[in-house]
Amino acid sequence: MSEKVMMKGNEAIAEAAILAGLRHYFGYPITPQTEVAAYMAKKMPKIGGTFLQAESEIAAINMVYGVAATGKPAMTSSSSPGIALKCEGISYLAGCDLPALIVNVQRGGPGLGGIQPSQSDYYLATRGPGHGDFHVLVFAPASVQEMADLTGRAMHLAWKYRMPAMLLADGTLGQMMEPVVLPEPSNAYGEDNPWATTGTQMKRPHNIVNSLELAPETLEKNNIARFERYRKIEETEPLWEEYLMDDAEICIVSYGITARISRNAIVEARKQGIKVGMIRPITLWPFPKEPLAAAADKVRSFLCVEINMGQMKDDLELAIKCRKPVDLCYRVGGMIPTPDEVLEHIKKLAEGEE
């Protein structure tokens, strides 16, 4: 299993999910994530799993909801407009405290938008994709290897905390191929699912999976208990990577594909003597506030690089409590900034600081 293979990001997600024990996939085709479904369609029948192309995205997420209630790993994947349709189901999953994996290979919006890459579902993913007070775990891979690694992690933490997890990729990462070492087979969900609705055998009281709670006192209690769990996750589960931050005076904050592009720009800027580094959030919820707050003590300014209109910039400014200026370098609509564009932005910031 330790051999490197070439895979598309979308295929790596699918294979990693299977290796982590997933046997139930429900989807509906949409560019640029169709390879996830295609891979599942090929592989699931051979390993006794379920691949089902539902009649719609809404049907697919509700099938996930059904399998999740039985304590088994379940997954759906889509791209931005399709994810919007799934939001009702995601909210129900959260309201029932059920684990599930939702993959969003983002494309440009709003509406049907385009089919080229984007990160414009950052708000949707990190603010709780659906109605009501809730969060989902959000992972932002930046390589095909991370797409494989974070899929298993997302499934495991979804089960551990009994909440949906979203893998938030984009069209570039989904379509590109890179060498990947696939993870060892595992059982992301463990064996202990006392909440699962799998039949009582007349030996225990019924498990009931339901998000309806008409008594306000109880519903309030449930919400508060859920947020206590979220607080624990915010303390223990943020993931991030730091790059050349030791002496950095400018800190780029970027995730996913734009972090890869920023890395090129940083290498060039360093050659020109500009002290710039990067903090790359790997989890977007929980957001890695602590390293960013620490960086705010050291750097002169931040540069947020995203392919949306600056959605993460809000979280960054909150994390650093607006103590340092935050600039934004962005393209949207399926356009991606080049390393040169990011470099120009870095240079402008560096000149402004002299």
Partner: protein, 179 residues
């Protein structure tokens, strides 16, 4: 070895992605860092398409090639689009059956190969991509000669395994071609 950043561009259906995959697999087999990025969407069904490949000894940042060291073009719009992006000293490989004009840049090496005509002459229509790749391998050695057969075996799907020999022949024809 120096980093190779390659753009292969032309019409959908010319085997651009396939040629890129051969390079990428070659890089993988030589244990280098590799990325392969296709254009996707309606252009894959006949419009202009392209594929970006990077082979490097260092971790690869952006998989999007903005300044290629190697450009392979299989239609005129692609030459128009990418000619100016090639780094000085870079190499441009032109399918001269399909592109009539000459490259205007003087700070790059240019190779004109009538690949589509050659493929047709050797009864291997559709393998102009591999003929061009042969010329690229001769001029850049971005993957080693001995890596190529193994890379091809990885990329040719099992149900088309019988096409291995003709692919190798096309690469050799490109390698041997002299203007």
């Amino acid at each position: 070895m120096a980093e190779s950043s390659v753009i292969i561009a032309g019409f959908g259906g010319q085997g651009l992605l396939f040629a890129g995959k051969v390079l990428a697999y070659g890089g993988l087999l030589e244990e280098r860092q590799v990325s392969w990025l296709p254009s996707y969407g309606p252009e894959m069904r006949g419009g202009t398409a392209n594929c970006n490949v990077i082979l490097s000894d260092d971790p690869i940042g952006s998989p999007i090639v903005t300044h290629p060291s190697v450009l392979i073009v299989m239609n005129a719009p692609s030459l128009d689009k990418y000619e100016s992006t090639v780094i000085p000293g870079g190499k441009i490989f032109v399918d001269s059956t399909l592109i009539n004009r000459k490259v205007e840049r003087e700070d790059v090496d240019v190779f004109y190969i009538p690949a589509t005509q050659m493929a047709s002459d050797m009864n291997a229509a559709g393998l102009a991509n591999m003929i061009l790749l042969g010329a690229v391998l001769r001029e850049t050695a971005c993957i080693k000669d001995e890596t190529l057969p193994d890379a091809l075996h990885h990329v040719i799907p099992a149900r088309k395994a019988d096409l291995f020999d003709v692919n190798m022949k096309a690469v050799q024809a490109g390698r041997d071609y002299k203007e």
